[in-house]
Amino acid sequence: MTTPIRHSFDEQLNALQEDVVRMGSMAVQAVDLAVRALAERDLGLCDQVMAVENQIDELNMDIESRAVQLLALQQPMARDLRTIAGVLRIITDIERIGDYAVDTSRQARQLADQPLFKPLVDIPRMANLVQRMLHDALEALVRRDLDLAMAAVRQDDEVDHVYKSLHQDLLAYVQRDPALAAQAFSLLLVGTYLERMADHVTNIGERIWYMETGELKELHE
């Protein structure tokens, strides 16, 4: 029954999704670079984050314009329509993650010339979780694997948990020594960025769910 009579459209649709995965991988890389820049006080890594972010932005525009073209020229229906609608949402979430990586690198730049008052534990842990979530979500997209999409989304709980612990930890430091407030505030901001990134991965999981089932629902409270 299914013969490849829309071969050219299928190719374009597949290429679009491959580029979404490529864009997502760049975001994983940007998060990694940004948090390493912070931990290693490395301005060179900050520059690399900007370079990756520029590529993400370019890809974002490119994917969006191709998706709109496919809508206009191919009049996709059903699963194809949901795929393109999903792609348009997912790239926005990935692009936001890239922006938060840049925000993180800005904090890293600010803190580069001063010693950290505490070793970084929670922030790298959150960053690892976010990268794994995003990685899992991208793999779920490629394989259309709803279980994996759900698994990616569920890790958001742990991110939230670590974020709370970071918040309490920093608060305790500042209460003991108010002079640490400025640095604590920067670190808390980074924690907030990572927490928001995880929320964007949750959105991505919801889009994958929609692409596959046609059902729009919140996968996470």
Partner: protein, 269 residues
């Protein structure tokens, strides 16, 4: 875990008001001689909404449409089984007056087929032979029918001109006003725009939206975008079977049956 849900499934899809059933089809089968063109089709067509029928050539959708006003009766060796109820009455009951039935269930065809007469006479012909109006009443009826078909402004100064002088899109709207002139309850449309240019097509679609306020419309179309644009419910036919029937928003975004999915995404070969 799950806190909110917005599905396109029928349960959560808003209906167009609470429309009653206009036509009820139960276990309809149709045979051209030994060939079975329709296989046990059952569905309910709602009043004053647009129902679209889609499917590949030869799937039975036009045969189904013609079964709704017994147009298939004229085919030699044809046989119909099952029940078609219009407002609760079986239209295949031997007591039914077929001419009266076709007045209630009018039809618009693929190619505009005006009679070789003036614009006015095209519309006046049927009401006159049915004795519905005469004299100034007839003139009023013609004007009213042309207005309902959104054609009056374009033809009011050339009512005496031959219908063939009109453009294809105007001719099709003339055919629609001809149907409206005998005040049907249901209008069947068999690919009404397939011979028209895009602008004329959109005018007919706009007209369908207006007509829907008063009439029940069933349209057969090869143009899936058209079905998606104009209809509230869509049925997908394949090899004489009704594969899936439901809200158009669902058929075109999240069909249930794999065969519907393959067809609407253009992967049906």
């Amino acid at each position: 875990m799950v806190s909110a849900s917005a599905s396109l499934r029928p349960a959560s899809l808003p209906r167009q008001g609470d429309r009653g059933t206009k036509i009820e089809v139960e276990h309809l089968s149709f045979y051209y001689g030994r060939f079975q063109a329709l296989k046990d089709v059952s569905l309910a067509i709602r009043e004053r909404q647009i129902t679209a029928l889609i499917g590949p050539s030869g799937c039975g959708k036009s045969t189904f449409l013609r079964a709704l006003n017994r147009m298939n009766d004229i085919i030699e060796g044809a046989r119909t089984e099952g029940v078609v109820r219009l407002d609760g009455e079986d239209i295949y009951d031997p007591a039914v007056d077929v001419v009266a039935l076709r007045r209630r269930v009018g039809m618009v065809f693929q190619r505009p087929n005006p009679f070789p007469m003036s614009v006015f006479e095209n519309v006046a012909y049927a009401p006159r032979i049915h004795g519905l109006a005469r004299g100034s009443d007839l003139e009023e009826l013609v004007e009213d029918s042309l207005k309902r078909a959104a054609l009056w402004e374009e033809v009011k100064d050339k009512l005496k001109a031959s219908a063939f002088e009109l453009s294809g899109g105007q001719q099709q709207r003339l055919c629609i006003s001809r149907v409206l002139a005998i005040d049907p309850a249901v209008v069947l449309m068999d690919e009404p725009c397939s011979a028209l240019d895009p602008a004329s097509t959109l005018r007919i679609e706009e007209l369908m939206h207006e007509l829907q306020q008063k009439y029940t419309i069933v349209i057969v179309t090869h143009n899936m975008q058209q079905a998606a644009r104009v209809s509230q419910e869509t049925g997908f036919f394949l090899h004489g079977e009704l594969i899936e029937f439901g809200p158009s928003a669902m058929i075109f975004t999240d069909p249930t049956d794999k065969r519907t999915e393959d067809y609407v995404t253009g992967r049906f070969g």
